[in-house]
Amino acid sequence: MAVFSFKNKTYSRSMLNGNEAYDPGAMVAIASVTTTAGQASVSFTSIPSTYAALQIWVMGRSNEASTNATDLKIQFNSDTATNYAYHILQGNGSAASAAGGATQSTMYAFRALPGNSSTSGIFGAAVVDVHDYASTSKYKTLRVFSGSDRNAADTTYRVQLSSGLWMSTSAVSSVQLSCDVNFAAGSTFHLFGIKG
């Protein structure tokens, strides 16, 4: 039976037997965090293993008393050992460059977070993708598209494509995001699951 709300001018349909099944879609919002000033890190824990991939949308700013952009760090399962690696391709508004790092203690979105002396309201952004995060037979590969811009000629700000590697066959059950000098208030982190 369908119900029409004159107040909201919307239809709704009950999930009784006989009605078509409700389909929430392939992208599912799992959890969100908005930081307070000086918050050291953000953690998503108890991540269900039922999705094909994870995606995190970050809009962030560091608490560093500088206009310089700083790095977003990404770890899995609270692993702080040197089990990570990365490669990056980036542009700083002046030149394109590439770099990589092996045997790292974290993965990075370099210079994704404007410093807290930047004009109020300027935040950097990142989309972090991990496919097959729940695999127990493979290492985990991360893809990040990130950037920050403050309407100024400042080569600490950049747009970046990153790959990351976590050398563990454990399923990702938690994600830790941090930066060198803590997050500014209002940084947002949204975790989504993508169904296969």
Binding site: G25, W57, M59, G147, N151, A152
Partner: protein, 165 residues
């Protein structure tokens, strides 16, 4: 309960037009995504985007480009628009994806753009971070050109993405 990623509107041009506009964007999502593929009808002109019909010099970007031979980077400050393509989009269509973060929030609006065109010998792959210096919620998006029209068949879709509360 709405889906997390919801198509809000799609426009496919039945005839050439100088712009595609998404208006009255509801404030019920967390992020927006604009996906466009299409052609221009005048060589040398490029695709552009503005929000809330703001044509003031309130946009800036940092960009990374590869043209099949060289990787390079540039930046633009105090611009009157967001660039979506280069001037080469008459014969080979561009694929454009714009992610707009926290579009209803009280901060400036940060966007991550990817736009690509391969022309069977030439081509461009571009990634940029863009900033709209306004604390207003985004209620409309305009896809325009630097001159000429988008051709018939050019299509754009606006998605809303709802995060967990």
């Amino acid at each position: 309960m709405p889906s997390t990623m919801t198509p809000i509107a799609t426009t496919t041009l039945s005839s050439a037009a100088s712009s595609i506009t998404f208006s009255s964007i509801p404030a019920t999502y967390t992020h927006l995504r604009v996906v466009f593929t299409g052609l221009g009808d005048t060589s040398g002109n490029a695709g552009r985007m503005t929000v809330n019909s703001d044509t003031g010099t309130n946009y800036s970007r940092t960009q990374l480009l590869g043209d099949g031979a060289t990787a390079y980077s540039n930046a633009s400050t105090n611009s009157a628009f967001i660039g979506l393509t280069t001037g080469n989009f008459v014969t080979y269509p561009w694929f454009v994806n714009v992610d707009i973060f926290n579009y209803t929030g009280s901060t400036y609006k940060t966007m991550l753009l990817s736009f690509s065109s391969d022309r069977n010998g030439l081509g461009d792959v571009v990634r940029s971070v863009n900033l709209w210096r306004s604390t207003s919620a985004i209620t409309s998006i305009q896809l325009t050109t630097s001159g000429g029209n988008y051709t018939a068949g050019s299509t754009a879709t606006l998605f809303g993405i709802k995060a967990a509360s």
